[in-house]
Symmetry: D3
Subunit: 334 residues, 6 copies
Amino acid sequence: MTANSEPLDAHEESYAGVGLTFCRVPFARGPEDLAGSDVAVVGAPFDLGTSFRPGTRFGPRAIRSAEDVGGPSARPHLELGLDPFAHLRVVDIGDAPVGPTISACHAGLYRAVGEILRAGAVPIVLGGDHSLSLPVMRALSDHLGPDGYSVIHFDTHADTAIYESGVTTEHAAPFSRAVNEGYVRGTNLIQIGLRGAWPFPAEFDWMRDNGIRWHSMDQVEERGLTAIVDEVIAAAGTRPRTYLTVDIDVLDPAFAPGTGTPEPGGLSTRELLRAVRRIGAALDLCAMDVVEVSPPYDPSRITALAAHRVVLEALSAIALRRSGRQPRPERPSG
Amino acid sequence: MTANSEPLDAHEESYAGVGLTFCRVPFARGPEDLAGSDVAVVGAPFDLGTSFRPGTRFGPRAIRSAEDVGGPSARPHLELGLDPFAHLRVVDIGDAPVGPTISACHAGLYRAVGEILRAGAVPIVLGGDHSLSLPVMRALSDHLGPDGYSVIHFDTHADTAIYESGVTTEHAAPFSRAVNEGYVRGTNLIQIGLRGAWPFPAEFDWMRDNGIRWHSMDQVEERGLTAIVDEVIAAAGTRPRTYLTVDIDVLDPAFAPGTGTPEPGGLSTRELLRAVRRIGAALDLCAMDVVEVSPPYDPSRITALAAHRVVLEALSAIALRRSGRQPRPERPSG
Amino acid sequence: MTANSEPLDAHEESYAGVGLTFCRVPFARGPEDLAGSDVAVVGAPFDLGTSFRPGTRFGPRAIRSAEDVGGPSARPHLELGLDPFAHLRVVDIGDAPVGPTISACHAGLYRAVGEILRAGAVPIVLGGDHSLSLPVMRALSDHLGPDGYSVIHFDTHADTAIYESGVTTEHAAPFSRAVNEGYVRGTNLIQIGLRGAWPFPAEFDWMRDNGIRWHSMDQVEERGLTAIVDEVIAAAGTRPRTYLTVDIDVLDPAFAPGTGTPEPGGLSTRELLRAVRRIGAALDLCAMDVVEVSPPYDPSRITALAAHRVVLEALSAIALRRSGRQPRPERPSG
Amino acid sequence: MTANSEPLDAHEESYAGVGLTFCRVPFARGPEDLAGSDVAVVGAPFDLGTSFRPGTRFGPRAIRSAEDVGGPSARPHLELGLDPFAHLRVVDIGDAPVGPTISACHAGLYRAVGEILRAGAVPIVLGGDHSLSLPVMRALSDHLGPDGYSVIHFDTHADTAIYESGVTTEHAAPFSRAVNEGYVRGTNLIQIGLRGAWPFPAEFDWMRDNGIRWHSMDQVEERGLTAIVDEVIAAAGTRPRTYLTVDIDVLDPAFAPGTGTPEPGGLSTRELLRAVRRIGAALDLCAMDVVEVSPPYDPSRITALAAHRVVLEALSAIALRRSGRQPRPERPSG
Amino acid sequence: MTANSEPLDAHEESYAGVGLTFCRVPFARGPEDLAGSDVAVVGAPFDLGTSFRPGTRFGPRAIRSAEDVGGPSARPHLELGLDPFAHLRVVDIGDAPVGPTISACHAGLYRAVGEILRAGAVPIVLGGDHSLSLPVMRALSDHLGPDGYSVIHFDTHADTAIYESGVTTEHAAPFSRAVNEGYVRGTNLIQIGLRGAWPFPAEFDWMRDNGIRWHSMDQVEERGLTAIVDEVIAAAGTRPRTYLTVDIDVLDPAFAPGTGTPEPGGLSTRELLRAVRRIGAALDLCAMDVVEVSPPYDPSRITALAAHRVVLEALSAIALRRSGRQPRPERPSG
Amino acid sequence: MTANSEPLDAHEESYAGVGLTFCRVPFARGPEDLAGSDVAVVGAPFDLGTSFRPGTRFGPRAIRSAEDVGGPSARPHLELGLDPFAHLRVVDIGDAPVGPTISACHAGLYRAVGEILRAGAVPIVLGGDHSLSLPVMRALSDHLGPDGYSVIHFDTHADTAIYESGVTTEHAAPFSRAVNEGYVRGTNLIQIGLRGAWPFPAEFDWMRDNGIRWHSMDQVEERGLTAIVDEVIAAAGTRPRTYLTVDIDVLDPAFAPGTGTPEPGGLSTRELLRAVRRIGAALDLCAMDVVEVSPPYDPSRITALAAHRVVLEALSAIALRRSGRQPRPERPSG
């Protein structure tokens, strides 16, 4: 890590400073700054894959500036008893280059994620629309092979649209396209939180044909998210590593109004944060993202804050797993 | 269905088009367009019955435009395995005529609901303030007799105010007035979700005297909404048909800030949607409404969206019931 | 005009009704409904040409629903002493078809505008991003020839970007591309309201080379808009007809916050409305549009309302011109 | 003034305190507290006369709490060189009683204004919808006779609707009804700021027939507000006293978004404040109101603040006039 | 209670009236008005102790005006079957004096709370930032001794910052400072709702060293809030009286966006209200506060409303406890 | 300029990138990076000097991120015909250190401004509350002597409060205190835009006694801002250099709602931008600031954008002056 990539500024107050890296971690300008990192945050500020309400192009900035503590990046986790930034070398490489077409945006992110993976770090992508999962999986496939990782996917929508060729890059289709293009095995893909009036039966048929598994919100309601996460961890654990992708619209609109296609009846943030923590501690994450935060629809900014905490929870879990020790929750004496 | 009532336009994008029928179903201009319909949506854009914050006059438009999918009205239900629009003939007759007094508004809705009922369809009213339940019940009483239907009423407030004659038409009194005027039997009325500091003891006494039943939020918290809904279905099922009226303020303000008299401590959308689905599938609905959505207080529009989904959930349940088959949830293979 | 295209509903209240045509004029479903029309409104709900903040895809709906009067479409103009809807046959054809690419959106609008022109009506396009002027000018060129019309263009930005081929369709380049593709002569193009740090010198050179004329906000401030409009009318009047295109960001952000690239220091609505009226009365408009209204950034909805009034002012002026009489302002007696 | 009506609390900070009288003047609970007052503020928190967007029932509270200075009610006027609260005894009597019908609201305000007039004070009414001018003029007519006062009326709309009897009390008709019911002479009524597509020709005819005078926004633009106000003062000054009624929608929506029927193209606050000051200094005001402030549409609260300043400007002008001296503007030495 | 402290006005409508006491209880101007009161509400409109987003200085006014019922202060509790205002003499003394420094603010509140305690009433403080608990505990210690009361503290943050002397008065440190300055015993302090990345380990060590107990959100999730509240009541009950302090940020941001340091993953309002009711009924409250409501971040005002209901729930519980009878929930007959 | 201070990232899109320097100029980390700079931007994110609505601590970040163009910092000025970034070496040093007291904040800014001045650059401070002018003038006095510079001050408020010692550092008093402490001569201070009910007569007397000059909004209205700016330039030009301080509340709230103490009746942005340009071109600026932008009250972000343009206009003017040439406005040929 060179001097260049030190924290941009170190003021005490969170609203101060020109540098908006995630949690004020060092800024990594290029491959040399990535060396030795455990985790690298990267923004994907595009929304050309959006069908309804655009705006998630402003998501990475909103997530990075959602922080409410300021100061040096110490964030000890109350339930785990460890500070991810003390255990992990986390850098922020800024935003992947974007272009005027969704293909150009994908190409830029594909290269950035590949570079992070080759440096041995875990990429954490701040979206951006969910189409970004396609280049992430392409890079993962290059790195781990299409059967080398499982995908745990929190979302309202299955994002497995069956479209004509030519327009399949949009945010409704990253997973169908990734399977079709051979970047991931359908049998390694597990979804949680489905609800609403989409996908259509033909898409569910396609999903079944490809061995994709999912857990709808009704199943969450009936069995509890804890039991489902147990099962998901077991299933995902059959592959060496796991890609965790969180569409913020898996949350109920009360918890995440700032998204493009909100769907009532979703998870609470409380449920989601615990699930992310458990997954990150149990499985070896090879990549992660949080997508579809749309600031123009987030007047109280609670959606960006929830996304920020999803990332922080994952970082803490990764740190715990790598530390090799058990959680040491802060508890009163006696 | 005449050519006149075809979808106004059929663009793919939900934000396009001049026609704002519910889910882009056909627009029915008059009695002849109603023939053969199973369900008819009608707006009731008035709020002159409001005591505190007006604005629900803009509710019907907000609910109709809350849709996030666009395109043709196919909405397959993930948990039921059927598309309500494939099973039911649903039309939207636009808004009932409104006038400068609450009485004139009621008269217009009474006529519109009566016309729908005579055509053999189920009216679904988009409010508007809750006083609209009075003309709905008057029309139901004409059609089914005052003992021919039960009422399941989701609400924070019992809406059974005991006022002087002359001002009893407002949104706090539709149910007391309907009982007093003989449009419904008190023993057929069941309320869910009561909380807060109203009604007053005298009104509760009146409710007990008239055999009205209710379940407060504390009871929901203690017993769970599932058990209560079981009991409500059993009780309502003693009448041939059921009128379901949903005041959106039964939801906690986190889920429904856009309403005139929000009361903390309410249901989540997740709870409400499942309850509506179960009621619609178990009982023969003769009418339904969703009321008190107030767009000026709904900056993120999540309240109108929740109301939209309440209607869609009911439509799906009606379709299931009429199809005569069991739910076929979309589940992974194996 | 067939029965199909009657007003969708005729309620007194503006917040009621499922049909959102502009000022509740008849809805024209196809070419046959256009016959005999003087003006046809068409929406262009796309923003894929946007560089910064998207959202103007929701513009047409917001402009149509900005109306505050309701009822039948009578709008007598106080200063002109005539009602445009009494003098003109105005219809609304809904929105032009949109597609997943900006090219597809342009193709749909090109066809719709061409159809209107061939029916002998004046198209008024509700945007949508400013790239829509490209297909409008292409259709005008087909109809009138590239030298058959002048363009009066109100805007902060010259929209004459010099880009590589392939990406020149976006909202910064409609005018450079239209000149380059031969849809309009640069010498027939006149711009009003330029300010800020764009275009760059190379683009100004290109504009000079092509004979484009413009009036910056500084010139407006120094000479007054009235004097400039006099000059613009004289210049534009050298061609038989005139296309008026109004980017709502020509207004100061105080008057039009709801736009994608606001620039402080602009016109007031008072100035703009009078200018539009004078232009519409003095010149024979062959087409008009109002673009770049972005509802997500318009919490008080004053931007969509201003755009609505720009259209109404133009309609009134067209009516006056066609009536052949002088303005008869409503004034007190004596 | 009894001890009861002392300032409710005297904290330094404007955001503190339970008492929200206008500028923290004494609260007058009843007739005895009015004795010796020069001006009495009264709220009229009703909006049942509203046709489009309700909400001005919350106007009085918003105007009173728009104050940004806090502390004791000293407000020296920079251009007049005097503090209205040092020269005038101003009290706030709270809000007039409101009821469930517009008639009941009017009756309550009529009594309150009459009581203030009989105590020899000038009533300043904080609206509330513009229908409140009807009971104000009824009370003025009782007190001064229908020819004893002129009316200067700032508004976008003439508010002279010609409706059927029975519904003429709403906010579009106070002036036509007041003339028809004999509370004011049409020849004593002067309006400033008219624009938009209403009133209709029939109403303008009625206005001419009754000798009402007006100045449209076009005339303001052409002649300047200063010249028009000169003329208005001369005309109004033919009656002994003057009632000044300010509909906040006379301002452009940029300056006053928080109102029910905004109309682009209006006055700036800068123009309005100077006009109010000149009128109050030149004429003997017998009553004043500021109406149609609608807080739900005023997210930045600038509309309520503008209304507050309109009242403060009038108070300063009244004080100047009663002091008998010339303005002594604060100017640098030398 | 003197005439001075009667309700300021008694209009039916909640949006009317210049007096904004809590639930329109009498305003108590000084010590003589406090005599005989059971509970005295006092505002603490300061936020100089805030580290991140200020604005809670506007909290007391927002909480008092969040009421949606209006009229006389009757608020019968549906689950308890009693009206707190019928059983308790509640007054509102307005806001404690504030000054330009946090010390001055604290001094003013300390005196006000002391005065209330000496009059035998329970102070209920409306914040304001959480640093206000320091002067509350100082006053409680004067009155009851540092071991004479326990503290039940709902909060995301432990507020036990260990700072250098001189800056320890801010909102992150009231409890560490109160323990250090001897106003309360650490062993009597119990916290509920902790989550997020603060306090740091050193602070937790200090907390353990001082015998402070706490229950994190994870423990709430695992054991349920009911079980935890049972335990908290048992623990707190070892002291004669209990101070209940509720930081509104203990709620999830979905339920309370309007606060300075929101933290996802918190309680629902439904959980909090029931917990407050149970605590108030089981223990003898000596003081209470609700803090950190920040209106600028509360566009839908649901946070202030939740805080209002927290107070109302506590009042109802106090009334029940003092009545000596069991809850008599309103239930249907039969 | 070292590599360290290169632009943080160079993406095309303005919403991308972790570095938020003003217009993406290089970030200067310390004195060595300042060498050779012409202008250095510095943030002052504090608002502890605020009396009414805090929030301007978030101002610097909002101003920096208000930019709508993105990409490299080329901003050619249309009216001047030059790009400030091509003529000036502009850096951004981030934010001055802030502390828990207003004194600590002032000390940090005083040091930062002094360092910039000693490096020979012009400091441009992004506020923060207006109390920051006190440390700026203290640093200017160190550098130029108290008679070595004039002050041109745009503001609603004179900010010359006469308070007791100890609390005179707040945002109402920077100019009285600077005069009293000898940092500036009163005769060198000129204010523009005063309006409203403050300062009080005693403060105006003090201002006259100290030779301070001012121009109220009434004078602007009567004489036009152009004439006044002519006079101000002549007066300020009697000193070698000029400090320009712009309180954004000099704008009318329509143009700048996002400020702590808005006052209706102010300048338009159009007026202000031209005035700033003329001043910067005519006089040798030694320092500049723009203060009191308060993002929580700026939902459409137009206030931060206006502030951004004030800075950009000043930079362009400085560049013109230093270039020694005349403006070359971009004008059409012919």
